[in-house]
């Protein structure tokens, strides 16, 4: 081999390695950046007067005096809108029947759009649904809804060769010459006075319960449910996994049975998570009835089975990595197996075992499929600790999926979806960070 070739090959891995790391870093950035950017908007956003009203009326938060003063000003700014609607309604009554009929539908649409934008019209009966009792709470949604009032959407199918084209038509054109005509420029010009957008820091997004299926409020039940499920899974999986690893490393005689067990554990690690979910439903709920309905308990048990192989394998590696001399020293001093394991082998292998726990903790927190059938519901109250034995819970991974696909107002709650993703990632990172710090401390203690 030529010298240059050899030198090039010797350097190849550092180059390839750097490229691989750079690619991974970019990928991570591409994934994390939007999560952080958009997720943070659940916490920091421009909130309107309606947001403050929700906070005051639904969560008893904020300064009532200040709100009332502000609300009075807002009401004054909104009064011309309602006046114009009234005026036009009276004007319609004086019209020809055919003319009136032509105006009726577009007018109702405008009226509806304004209700969505600003909330129910004062003096009218309060709607039943909470989401209809308030206008837009967020400035970004306000602008979208304003646009919907100002423009109507129509599909143009005139060209049979092409797909339909969406055409936006200014609604103002329909009402030329009527008393409603000035409404549209007024809305456009005075929307800030009517909504009062203000930079809002809503950290209680994490600790508030949701109102009217996540249209208002926060995600506390989901956060709590995720914590319950993760910690519950750990509660079952760590003792079982570590004990199994100790048995396999220290007690079991190498042979066919142990090899078979090892193969089973590896296979278990590769089973798709949905299968674990179905197993959890069939076994924990339908066969041994750990609870009458789906419950955190059943979900934790299912998740613990899912992460058990990881914990066993990593604990085994950690235990086998403990120098044999430690074991000899302990036995030579007259320690029995139990003492050798408890006082020497486990402490020395703890950092490695913790690594496995960290990895599986992140997995347990983020798994969706196993909890669909065993623990998760779309909407629920935060559970008390004893209720986890019998009650299902909302949980972040499942609710992210649910809110993105099955919610009736998917578009309205983008911020909640991203907020949940953000929170889930943050929870997993925090759990990992805690474990990593713990691991570092123990390692340091061991190394001296």
């Amino acid at each position: 081999m030529r010298l240059e070739t050899r030198k090039l090959l010797d350097k190849a891995f550092s180059g390839l390695g750097l490229i691989a790391i750079a690619v991974m870093a970019v990928a991570l950035l591409l994934i994390l950046a939007p999560i952080i950017w958009r997720g943070s908007k659940a916490f920091v956003f421009k909130g309107t007067i309606e947001h403050r009203r929700v906070m005051l009326e639904q969560f008893g938060r904020g300064n009532a005096e200040k709100y009332r003063a502000e609300a009075a000003e807002v009401a004054a700014a909104r009064a011309p809108v309602y006046q114009m609607l009234n005026d036009f309604e009276s004007e319609m009554k004086g019209m020809e029947r055919s003319e009136r009929r032509a105006y009726k539908k577009p007018f109702r649409e405008v009226e509806k759009g304004i209700k969505v934008l600003l909330g129910p019209i004062p003096g009218e009966r309060m709607p039943v649904l909470l989401r209809q009792q308030y206008g837009q709470t967020r400035w970004d949604r306000t602008l979208v809804k304003l646009h919907e009032v100002l423009y109507s959407e129509e599909w143009d199918y005139s060209n049979p060769e092409a797909m339909g084209v969406l055409v936006e038509k200014p609604r103002i054109d329909l009402f030329k010459g009527t008393k409603l005509e000035p409404l549209f420029p007024y809305l456009e010009d005075h929307i800030e006075e009517m909504m009062r957008p203000k930079q809002t820091f809503y950290w209680q997004f994490i600790t508030d319960t949701s109102k009217d299926s996540h249209i208002f409020g926060g995600i506390w039940p989901e956060v709590l449910g995720t914590l319950y499920l993760t910690l519950g899974a750990m509660l079952f999986a760590i003792p079982m996994g570590v004990v199994a690893a100790i048995y396999l490393c220290e007690y079991a005689k190498e042979g066919r049975v142990v090899s078979f067990l090892r193969i089973c554990i590896s296979t278990l690690a590769g089973v798709p998570s949905i299968v674990f979910g179905l197993f959890g439903l069939a076994f924990f709920l339908n066969t041994i009835h750990v609870s009458d309905s789906k419950s955190v308990l059943a979900g934790s048990l299912t998740l613990s089975l899912l992460i058990l192989p990881t914990i066993i394998r990593s604990s085994e590696e950690a235990i086998l990595a403990v120098p044999r001399t430690y074991k000899e020293a302990a036995l030579g001093l007259g320690a029995g197996r139990w003492h050798t394991i408890m006082s020497v082998i486990l402490p020395a292998s703890l950092p490695g075992i913790l690594t496995g726990i960290v990895i599986s903790m992140g997995r347990a927190a983020g798994e969706t499929a196993p909890i669909i059938f065993t623990a998760a519901v779309s909407v629920g109250a935060p559970l008390k600790i004893w209720e986890t034995l019998s009650q299902p819970t909302p949980a972040l991974p499942w609710n992210i999926y649910n809110l993105c696909t099955e919610h009736e107002a998917v578009d309205e709650i983008r911020h909640v979806q991203y907020g949940m993703v953000f929170t889930l990632v943050a929870i997993v990172l925090l759990l990992n960070l805690a474990a990593i710090l713990m691991r570092a401390r123990i390692s340091k203690k061991l190394r001296g």
């Binding site: 005689k253 190498e254 120098p323 001399t325 430690y326 074991k327 000899e328 020293a329 302990a330 036995l331 030579g332 001093l333 007259g334 320690a335 029995g336 003492h339 006082s343 020497v344 402490p347 020395a348 203690k445 061991l446 190394r447 001296g448």
Partner: protein
């Protein structure tokens, strides 16, 4: 060839070494053999290790001297498929009997290994490990045991100010002396040393050798060594083993100056091994 040596041994051996039958015997091997699977690592060895003497075991690599040493506290049990034949008598019992509790045995026979194997714990906890196993909980009592053991191992002055420091932070020689202190803390009747200085520099080795000379007053010591000068320096009796067979066992001075067996002579003069 091994057959020949065995026969020779029966003819010539002072099984007691030169200490003679009068010296009290601590451990006695009677036709003791140890097998790793089918391999006979120790072949029908008979010898008596006297009390409060230093007995050295020498021989080329793989001659079975370490195996014999580790048979005295049954450390070989850790290796799967080992099997013993014959008897190893300690305190009137064959320690390979079915009803012998290995853990109790090991608590009476301390061992120091080739490489210092301190636990990743504090110096204090290392020494207190054995006493704690034996149920000593009283802090005062533990303090006394730790200090006495560390003094016996001639390391007290170096570590008395940092008993709560991690033992892994010490030098290799200090670690080995800590291991000796740890073994002494269980108040063993015998101290087995398996090439205790092979991983140490000459200075640390000298310290350990001085220590062995000091400890012989109170303990029966069996030391395996590769270093013949070391055996000559520290031991009262020397056993020379070759291919699993005990070739010669006698007073150290005599074995090194006037060996009875030509095999021994060849080894100590450096012609093989």
């Amino acid at each position: 060839m091994t057959e020949e040596i065995t026969m020779k041994k029966i003819d010539t051996f002072a099984e007691y070494g030169e200490a003679g039958p009068a010296a009290e015997t601590q451990v006695e091997a009677r036709d003791f053999s140890l097998f790793y699977g089918d391999f006979e690592a120790v072949r029908k060895v008979s010898l008596k290790i006297p009390k409060k003497k230093v007995t050295a075991m020498i021989g080329p690599s793989g001659c079975g001297k370490s195996t014999l040493l580790r048979s005295i506290n049954r450390m070989n049990d850790l290796i799967p498929s080992t099997r013993a034949a014959g008897e190893m008598i300690f305190d009137g019992h064959n320690i390979y009997d079915r009803n012998i509790d290995v853990v109790t045995l090991r608590a009476r026979v301390g061992m120091v290994f080739q490489k210092p194997n301190v636990f990743p714990k504090t110096i204090f906890d290392n020494v207190a490990y054995g006493p704690r196993l034996q149920g000593v909980k009283n802090r005062q009592e533990l303090n006394e045991v730790v200090e006495r053991s560390l003094r016996q191992a001639a390391i007290w002055d170096e570590v008395k100010d940092r008993l709560s420091a991690n033992a892994l932070g010490m030098s290799g020689g200090q670690q080995q002396r800590l291991c000796i202190a740890r073994a002494l803390a269980i108040k063993p009747e015998i101290l087995l040393m398996d090439e205790p200085t092979s991983a140490l520099d000459p200075k640390a080795t000298a310290k350990i050798e001085d220590l062995v000379g000091e400890l012989r007053k109170n303990y029966t010591i069996v030391i395996v060594t590769h270093n013949m000068q070391q055996a000559a320096r520290v031991s009262d009796l020397t056993a020379f083993m070759y291919e699993g067979v005990l070739v010669e066992f006698g007073k150290t001075r005599q074995l090194f100056t006037n060996p009875e067996n030509p095999q021994t002579e060849n080894y100590i003069t450096g012609r093989f091994g």
